[in-house]
């Protein structure tokens, strides 16, 4: 398990005297600095010390202390531990923090999220609009003093339902009998506000090409109901003929308040919710959250549990990549046939998940200190049969069918290129980053669990186009098969839980950032505990959300038909984008 390295701590305070104050709260780490020094510090951090990869930006509302904190996690793409730094602002509107978009453009969507949910104004942000909720929504919902319409009390289990166990319809407590609440004196008939206005204004801000004919530009909306957006995702594009001149992703159509609910839940209650983030890879999500909380609790899972975890996480990666390959081919026009080949194998993996956890998709299998139960009888045989015989053969078969295909090659090679510099700049993660030639994989860069014991290659391709992103996924499936094969051979006997099973875990106060290499990229969980049964802050660094930062820049200049192909090659899952 990774912890921020103390060696660099010394180095930094000597390098920036007077700028940085160490975060001395018990259980916390990192540095606290002032608004005035932020840009200078971040520039030096990136240019002089080589911390070029901004992993996560989030905010924390310390309501009792009367302040709001913005937390930055920055890493090196060459690997190693990261740097955590924080800005504290008094909790009075307007809360202003300088935007880091000019230094780390990958901050764009994350800062918009912090503005939307916390109401922190990032000065200098080029396009600070709400992102998950709509413009005009009342309040900033992640603030601790903002209560949802069905609010009962701050923490679960709710007294009205437990221990008596009475069933209460939440609707019965609401004035309108529904999940709604309005500000005082609100009259819906005087509502003249258009939630879409800000989006269209932002879309019109682009450089007009002065050369050639003066043509009309039109705005086209794709989604949220569109067969190739992989869910309820919307893309608004400005077109000059068929050429894209500006593009904005619009999201939030599946924003189901993961973090707000997560901060009312007890720690263990959040485990099944993480399944529903990236619902194609629930085991990886469990893994990240378990790592973060175990770091806080200072618990180490048992040996057997570690191996089972790794096996499950790699199987999830294969299942997710199969889906990604099938869906990309679907988007390129090979309607459903490649998908059928991919899903056939995925079903076999889901059978294993069902055997170990009882559910095909929402596994809820990991616990703090191990996994929920041991492998049932016969499952290991099944895994062996699948990973030593069937899957390696089938992956080659799918690869043979697809990768020399003329349509895939002409639609993919040289199209939708993301250069290596841009990939780092926009905080791209996972296959998107590695297809651009950056061999950055959290399993190698900062090994967690027992990944340092396995032999596998970090897959990398150099062109950064749609075709390479497809090929990276094929290669990663091969590497995952290798890892599972090794894990099956080395799997020790023993218990699968380090702790006694508990209804409520005790988590000491502090902060932790657990990150894993999920199928979509670096998946991070930032958890703050104040010693109570519920987390004070629970934030998800969602790779497919942050990968969308690069979506606009990739697409500008392409033809409109390529939007679908680029989106398919980024491989987003809306449960994770919107959370």
């Amino acid at each position: 398990m990774a912890t921020p390295a103390p060696a660099q701590t010394l180095d930094l305070s000597a390098r920036f005297p007077g700028v940085l104050n160490p975060d001395t709260r018990p259980g916390y780490s990192g540095w606290i600095l002032d608004n005035a020094n932020l840009l200078k510090f971040a520039t030096a951090l990136r240019d002089e010390l080589g911390y070029d990869y901004l992993s996560s930006i989030t905010a924390v509302d310390y309501l009792p202390e009367g302040k709001m904190e913005v937390v930055y996690h920055v890493f090196k793409t060459t690997g190693g531990a990261g740097v955590v730094f924080k800005i504290q602002v008094p909790r009075a509107d307007p809360m202003e923090v300088p935007s880091l978009v000019s230094i780390y453009p990958g901050a764009e969507l994350q800062e918009r999220e912090a503005w939307d949910l916390f109401g922190i104004k990032f000065t200098g942000h080029p396009d600070l609009r709400r992102i998950l909720m709509w413009e005009g929504f009342a309040g900033h919902p992640m603030r601790k003093d903002w209560h949802e319409p069905y609010f009962e009390e701050e923490a679960k289990p709710l007294k009205s339902r437990w221990p008596d166990g009475r069933m209460i319809m939440a609707e019965s407590k609401n004035l309108f009998g529904d999940n709604i609440a309005y500000p005082d004196g609100f009259n819906p008939e005087s509502q003249t506000f258009d939630p879409e206005k800000a989006l269209y204004e932002a879309l019109r801000t682009y450089q007009k090409d002065e050369v050639g004919l003066d043509t009309d530009h039109i705005i086209v909306n794709m989604g949220p109901q569109h067969p190739s957006t992989h869910g309820v995702f919307r893309v608004a594009v400005v077109l000059d003929g068929e050429k894209i001149v500006n593009l904005k992703p619009v999201m939030g159509y599946l924003h189901r308040n993961h973090e707000k609910i997560g901060e009312r839940n007890t720690f263990i209650m959040n485990m099944p919710y993480t399944d529903r983030l990236d619902y194609l890879s629930s085991m990886s999500n469990n893994f990240g959250y378990a790592l973060a909380v175990e770091k806080l609790m200072n618990v180490k899972p048992t040996e057997r549990a570690e191996y089972i975890r790794v096996m499950m996480a790699e199987m999830t990666r294969i299942a997710s990549h199969l889906m990604a390959i099938g869906a990309l081919l679907n988007d390129l026009g090979a309607y459903f046939t490649p998908m059928l080949y991919a899903l056939e194998e995925r079903e076999l993996l889901l059978d294993i998940f069902e055997a170990v956890s009882g559910s095909r998709m929402m596994c809820n299998y990991f616990r703090f200190g191990g996994v929920a139960r041991d492998l049932p009888e016969g499952t290991l045989q099944k895994i062996k049969g699948l990973f030593f015989e069937r899957l390696p053969r089938k992956i080659e078969e799918i690869d043979r069918f697809l990768s020399e295909n003329e349509i895939i090659r002409s639609r993919g090679i040289g199209q939708g290129v993301l250069t290596a510099e841009d990939a780092i700049k926009y905080s791209a993660a996972g296959p998107l980053l590695r297809a651009s030639g950056i061999p950055y994989d959290v399993r190698r860069a900062e090994p967690y669990s027992i990944y340092d014991r396995f032999e596998f290659d970090v897959v990398v391709r150099t062109n950064g186009d749609i075709y390479d992103r497809l090929m990276v996924r094929f290669d990663e499936i091969r590497q995952s098969i290798r890892i599972v094969q090794q894990a099956v051979k080395q799997l020790p006997n023993g218990p699968v839980m380090a702790l006694k099973p508990m209804y409520q875990v005790r988590v000491p106060p502090g902060e932790a950032y657990g990150r894993v290499e999920g199928p979509k990229g670096e998946l991070g969980f930032y958890v703050i505990s104040n010693g109570k049964p519920t987390p004070w802050r629970y934030h998800v660094r969602a790779p497919s959300f942050i990968n969308l930062t690069a979506f606009g820049p990739i697409c500008i200049g392409l033809k409109v038909a390529d939007v679908v192909a680029v989106l398919g090659s980024i491989d987003i899952v809306l449960g994770e984008v919107d959370r």
Binding site: L132, M133, W134, G136, F137, A138, P141, E148, P149, Y150, A170, E171, L175, F176, D178, N179, I180, A181, Y182, P183, F186, N187, P188, E189, Q191, F193, P195, P224, Q225, H226, P227, H230, G231, V232, G252, Y253, L254, H255, R256, N257, K260, I261, R264, P272, Y273, R276, Y279, L280, M323, F336, M339, L340, L343, E344, E347, R360, M361, M362, L574, G575
Partner: protein, 205 residues
């Protein structure tokens, strides 16, 4: 359909014609055709959509029920599978899609979220079940329902179709039931146009 299921009772068909002639009711033949070619709207909301795709893929093969033709356009579809969490931001679009579907149309609420909010019910952006806005014909429980459960729900839709009659079917009648569902608006919170007076009279919440 077997001929003994199709034929109306009490009509004698000469044995030499039994292979070619059938005497039946219009309802029966019409419903038979409709129930075996339900075209769902290709429309995935969340996790349940993945199980919906699996139901359409090799192992479960929705095509056995004549439903494999998923239409991306509401104008061409008969069945809306609400496959996932319905959010306040999304519900205006869902209602609009529902209004655009030609009748006869059916709605299947797939999973806990679509049926009643599910695990995310308490969230500030979550609608407590799609039936707050559009009428639902079949609810499929589960989180997510397995493809088998979805297939069972689809068979329930078929049963429902087979039990309908042209004389009484809602979409052939005149009346307020046929009116379009007013599309909700986004304000400080979701505004249901049917509740505007309630909102105006409402006190501070």
């Amino acid at each position: 359909m077997e001929s003994n299921e199709l034929n109306s009772p009490d009509y004698e068909i000469p044995p030499e014609l039994q292979a070619q002639v059938s005497i039946t009711s219009l309802d029966k033949i019409y419903n038979w055709g409709r129930s075996a070619s339900v075209w769902p709207l290709m429309f995935g909301l969340a996790c349940c959509a993945i199980e919906m795709i699996c139901a359409a893929a090799s192992r479960f093969d929705i095509a056995r029920f004549g439903m494999e033709i998923m239409r991306p356009s509401p104008r061409q579809s008969d069945l809306m599978i609400i496959s996932g969490t319905v959010t306040k931001k999304m519900i205006p679009i869902i209602v609009r899609l529902y209004n655009q579907m030609p009748e006869p149309k059916y709605v299947l609420a797939m999973g806990a979220c679509a049926s009643g909010g599910g695990p995310f019910k308490e969230g500030y952006n979550v609608v407590s079940g799609v039936d707050k806005f559009i009428p639902v014909d079949v609810y499929v429980p589960g989180c997510p329902p397995t493809p088998q459960a979805l297939l069972n729900g689809l068979m329930k839709i078929q049963e429902k179709i087979k039990g309908e009659s042209i004389k009484t079917a809602r979409w052939y009648q005149k009346g307020p039931d046929m009116a379009e569902i007013p599309v909700p608006m986004l304000g400080p919170d979701l505004i249901d146009p049917r509740k505007i007076t309630l909102i105006q009279n409402g006190k501070k919440n």
